[in-house]
Every structure is written in structure tokens, then in C-alpha cells.
């Protein structure tokens, strides 16, 4: 293994056994009952379903590389991180790690509410693998970074959640590992905190640290990573430049259930089967110029008759900002009874969103914004403009300007100062 390799993974796999009845045996009684049943059944073994959360994953990561691990929910990203951080053991394969590894899968795990901020800094530091001496040496810097010096001797149960996260994160930020495993849960929190998180990662990049970053946020992947490993159903199906990885993600996202929907997609009474974006000429495309008109066609199908569903289409920018939103009910279209496959067309006004990537989330609700019938990502598109980016806000619409002072020459107005 050459010296400049930080992580070398060979054939990593993780298998879970799912019980035949689908549920785990959580009490001794259940286990006894199951045992008795299998005895009665002539010693027939309960059928277990094998499930490979990660299969034959191999890759090399060099020192100093920043790699994004991308994939849909359940693709095996977290499992990979858990194996590399040794929280769980692989079923197959090996991985060799050269250097000090720090894993931040969740900020503040191990914090205890009854202890003061100061005490928690030491406790959490040791949980993350820092020596007491090291924490002591960095203590002042940690407190300063957290911006909560006044509360450092207050029990953390009295902290606001923001203070709590800030303190935990500043301890983690001072870990100074050679290799950092970072889960996107970190990026949850307020915008200022997300920014701090990314700034910190950039700081680490400058010091030539290796970062393995799991995220659903293509914006952070784009800013932070120079390589993407793409996982689908536990397998590495792509390992290469960032844009290629993001493209795959967009493809896979199409039609995927939104992460927070509680019902099973197989049980949705109505669902999206496809989505096309058309330009003014009627050609399908995903890259639109700022100001272009867009027409969206949503294809759907039903499993039962749905009475007057409300289709809600939201454009979500890649950094998670909900940019705009359309709804059949709000926009005055009543669909009546819907059965079988059909298509819905949405004519959009000229796109004035800033230059970025957007995903289209479709929610279908029962009449009157009631129960959610379906929640899917229908697709993604890009908006292109040479100037208007996220620094200009969410959208840009030209305003009308005029001067209301006397008809004096512009030179006078500017020359007085």
C-alpha cells in the first residue's frame, strides 16, 4: 500500500439478516415463542432474508482528497461511514486506514445535560478520541470558537439548542484528524451554523486533511468535494468527478419518495410516474436559461379513485431553500374524480430563479390540504445566468427605477460627496 493512500477499501460488505416475519424479536418471550415454534415445526429453521446494506465496495482515497459519498436513502452511505469509523464491523472485506481518523456522524453524542459546558468539553473530547492533555491545551480556543464563554460553567441542560450544537461542534472542530468522516446530519441546523461547518471543512482542506463527506445536498458536495463515490443499493456504481456523480444522483432522484413521507410508496393511492420539462418549442430539457418559459408535464397513475386531489409542486434549490411553489387548488384548478393514468400540464411564467440547480418535489394531498397521498421528487433542472447567483437572493426580477429629484444633471448629485 503506497504511502499517499489514506483509506484503502477492498470488497467491504455488510449484511443484515431480516427475520422472516419482518420484525425483530425484541423481548425474550418473543424469542422463546419463536424457538418453540421452530421446534414444533420439526426443527425447521426460521427463514431469514439476507439484506446487503453494502456490497463489495472497493476504492482508494489519497491523502488530501475530499470525496463526497452520494446516493439515495438506504444506498449504504451511512453503513460505509460506520464501517470506516469502526462503529460496526464489515461482514466481508478489509479497509486500511493510514492516519488519525475522526468521525463526526452526529454532533454532541455523549453530551450530558447535568454537566457544565466546561465538563462536557472534556467528556466529549475524550469520546471523540482526544487526550485530556490535548483538550486542556485547546480549551481556550474551543471556548472562543463556540462564542459561549459566559455560559461555560452552566449545565448544558440550560443551553438553547443552538448553544449546545455550537459548543459540541467547536470541540469536534478542534479534533484535527488526518482523515475526517463527516455525515450530513452535521449540516442540519441554522444557516449560520451550516456556513461555519463548511468553512471549517475548507480550513481542514487547506491543511491537506482527507475528508469523506456524506450528503444529500449537492450544493455542499459541489463546494467541498473534488470526487464523488456514488452508491446505489449498497454497491459503488460510480467513482469519479463531481459532476458525473451529481448527474447520477439527479437521475436516481426522479420519482424517488421524499425522505420524510411516512406512508409506503407501494400504498400511495396516487403517484407520479414521470415528469418532463419542456421549453417554448416543446423540447424536453433540464438546463434552462434565466427568463426562459418552462412547461412541466406530470404523469401520474392511481391505485384507487381519488377525489379532487391537490397537486403541489415545489422547486427546491440544491442548498435546501424552497424557492417557489404551485398548487392546483390554490391556482384554481379542480381535478374532480381521478382514476387511472393521466397527465397534468403546468405552464410556468418565465423562470426568474437565480442560476442554480433545483429539484422538483411533488406532493399530492387530499382535497383541502389534508392528508398527504404521495410525496416524490419528480426531477431536477438547472437555471443558467452569467450573473444572478445565490448572492442575488432566490430570484431576480427587474424593478422599475426612476429619479424623483429635479431634472439636475447626474454629475451634480454624485459630485457633492
Amino acid at each position: 500500500m503506497s504511502k499517499d493512500i489514506a483509506i484503502q477499501a477492498r470488497g467491504l460488505g455488510k449484511r443484515y439478516l431480516l427475520g422472516a416475519n419482518g420484525g425483530a424479536k425484541d423481548s425474550f418471550r418473543d424469542a422463546l415463542v419463536a424457538g418453540a415454534k421452530s421446534l414444533i415445526g420439526g426443527g425447521k429453521k426460521a427463514a431469514f432474508k439476507e439484506f446487503w446494506a453494502l456490497k463489495d465496495a472497493s476504492f482508494d482515497i489519497r491523502h488530501g482528497e475530499n470525496v463526497g459519498v452520494v446516493g439515495l436513502n438506504g444506498a449504504g452511505k451511512s453503513t460505509l461511514l460506520k464501517i470506516l469509523s469502526r462503529i460496526t464491523e464489515p461482514a466481508t472485506g478489509t479497509a486500511q486506514i493510514n492516519g488519525r481518523l475522526g468521525a463526526l456522524l452526529e454532533v454532541g453524542t455523549g453530551f450530558h445535560g447535568e454537566l457544565t459546558g466546561r465538563e462536557n468539553v472534556f467528556l466529549y473530547g475524550s469520546i471523540l478520541g482526544m487526550r485530556r492533555e490535548e483538550v486542556r491545551r485547546k480549551f481556550d480556543a474551543i471556548v472562543e470558537f463556540s462564542e459561549i464563554a459566559n455560559f461555560i460553567d452552566t449545565p448544558v441542560k440550560r443551553y438553547s439548542s443552538g448553544m449546545y450544537v455550537r459548543l459540541a461542534f467547536s470541540v469536534a472542530a478542534h479534533l484535527e484528524p488526518d482523515i475526517l468522516l463527516l455525515d450530513e446530519v452535521l449540516a442540519v441546523g441554522d444557516l449560520a451554523f451550516q456556513r461555519k461547518c463548511i468553512e471549517h471543512a475548507k480550513e481542514l482542506q487547506k491543511r491537506d486533511a482527507t475528508i469523506l463527506f456524506v450528503s444529500h445536498n449537492m450544493f455542499s458536495i459541489k463546494t467541498m468535494c473534488d470526487r464523488v463515490i456514488y452508491l446505489r443499493k449498497g454497491e459503488v456504481i460510480y467513482d469519479g468527478d463531481v459532476l458525473g456523480g451529481i448527474e447520477l444522483y439527479e437521475q436516481d432522484c426522479r420519482g424517488a419518495a421524499l425522505a420524510w413521507t411516512e406512508t409506503k410508496p407501494e400504498e400511495w393511492p396516487i403517484y407520479i410516474t414521470g415528469c418532463e420539462l419542456l421549453d417554448e418549442r416543446g423540447d424536453a430539457k433540464t438546463m434552462f436559461d434565466y427568463g426562459e418559459r418552462m412547461t412541466m408535464r406530470l404523469h401520474y397513475d392511481t391505485r384507487e379513485t381519488v377525489d379532487d386531489p391537490n397537486f403541489i409542486v415545489a422547486m427546491i434549490r440544491s442548498d435546501g431553500v424552497a424557492a417557489c411553489n404551485y398548487s392546483t387548488e390554490l391556482d384554481g384548478l379542480s381535478l374532480g374524480k381521478v382514476v387511472g393514468p393521466g397527465t397534468l400540464e403546468l405552464q410556468l411564467p418565465a423562470v426568474k430563479l437565480v442560476s442554480e440547480m433545483y429539484s422538483i418535489s411533488v406532493l399530492i394531498r387530499a382535497k383541502g390540504f389534508q392528508q398527504i397521498l404521495c410525496g416524490q421528487t419528480a426531477g431536477t433542472f438547472h437555471v443558467r445566468h452569467h450573473l444572478f447567483n445565490t448572492h442575488f437572493g432566490v430570484f431576480h426580477e427587474a424593478g422599475n427605477w426612476r429619479r424623483v429629484d429635479q431634472d439636475s444633471a447626474p454629475r451634480v448629485a454624485s459630485g457633492q460627496r
Binding site: Y16, A24, D26, S27, F28, R29, A31, K82, I83, L84, S85, R86, I87, T88, E89, P90, A91, T92, G93, T94, A95, Q96, I97, N98, G99, R100, L101, A103, L105, E106, T109, G110, H112, E114, L115, E119, F122, L123, S126, I127, L128, G129, R131, R132, E133, E134, E176, P177, D178, R207, D208
Partner: protein, 282 residues
Amino acid sequence: MNQTAAQVNPPRVTLIRPSGGLFDVDLAAVWRYRELLFFLVWREVKIRYKQAALGVAWAVVQPLFTVLIFTTIFGIFARFPSDGLPYPVFALAAVLPWTYFAEALRRSATGLVSDADLVRKIYFPRLIIPIAGVTSPVVDFLFGMLILVGVMFWYGITPGWSILLLPGWLFITLALALAIGLWLGPINVRYRDVMHTLPFITQVWMFATPIVYPLSMIPERWQALYSVNPMVGIIEGFRWSLLGTGQPNLLSIGISLGVITVALIGGAVYFRKMERSFADVI
């Protein structure tokens, strides 16, 4: 590269692979994580005394009231013999180590579940948790010892040289609690029934151990069978060390030690084998 970090922790190579052999217990890793062990023990002690209004007094009040009740019921009403000693001293010398044992057992058996967040999200040798579990109640035990000293002084009892062996008895008790905790801990991860039945088991166990009554109350022919309970030899050992009663039965202590050693090694292997799946099932 960061120079200081590299100096404190020289770059090391970690190999991750599916663990194989039975005797894959990595004690070196436990040693590497000794500071975490220290902080987990420190956390338990801090929290225990911080949350309570009475603070440290709890370590004292609890055994004191227990002994008060035992003295009233068993000493005064039931008139249990007490090896010729005042009943309160006789009881307290056994209640303190028993309280330690019960608490150490409870914590080592249920620690993995109460620290489930850590197990799910952070890597460290899981053995640290039961070890911390049996270590932190030692502090309570030491505070309790202060009471015993006071009570002994009150009754004018001075211990002999055998008191020097006290740490030895404490260590054996710790080893026993850990040995059982190593077996029960992983089972508790899978089946929470353990933590529900444990208080009941320790209660029954207490009455099967000469705490409120002396060993001499057990008929001679039953004593060998009775001594299969390793806590019998241990509690008698504590009394001998502190109060100079009886003579430790070397044979039964030898058997206890043998059983504890085997259970401890077996427990470590079992724990290691189960450890792999903790993060997945907890």
C-alpha cells in the same frame, strides 16, 4: 499536516476486517482508551452527586437506613444472632459490599443500553462500558466505609491486620460483578427483559447471602451447597477483614475465585463476539 497532532498521536495504521477467532479480545485497545474510561467513571460519579439535593450524603443515607430497618426487624424483633457483635455493625459490614455489588452488577449489565447513543455513533472498545459500570460505584462504597468507621468507633471495635486485605475483597467483588455483567450486557442489548428482572434477582440473591443473618445459621450439612453462591465467601471475607469474625474458608474462596476467573474470561470472549452487532441491534 498539523504538527502538534502528529506528535501527540503518531500516524497509525488501522486495519478493519471482519473479526474471526474466538480469542480476539483486544485488551490493548481498552488500554489505549483508558482516558475515556476515566471520563465515563467521572461522569457517572459527578452526575450522581450533582443531580441530588443531598449530594454525597446519599451514599451514606441509603445504607444507613437499610441497616436501621434490618436492625429493627431482624436484630430486635426476630433476634437473629450476629456472631457476638452489635447487630448494626454486623449488618453494615455486609450491606456496604452488597450494595456495591448490586449497583456494579446493575450498571455493567445495563450500561450498553443507557449509553446506546454512544454505541450507535462513536467507536471505542465496548468493554469500556461494563468496566466503567463496575468502577464508578466504588466511590459510593468508599463514602459508605466512612460511616462504618464511625459506627465501629461508636461501639469500640478496632479492626485487626486483616483490614489490609479489604481492597482484595473489593477487587474480587468487582471481578464477579464484571464477569456477570459481561454476560448479561449483550443479552440486555437484544432483550431488555434483563434490566426488568435484574432488581428482582439481586433481591432474592441478597437473602441467599449471609447479610441479615450469620453463616452459622445455615445447618452444617447445607453449608457446602450454600457456599456455591460466590457472594457467601466474599461477604464473609469482608466481615472477617473488617470485624475479625470467623475464618475465611480458603477452599470456598478458592472455588469462588476459580469460578469468577472462568466466568470473566468466558464473559470477555462472549462480549467480544456479541460486540460486533451492538451498533446494529441496540
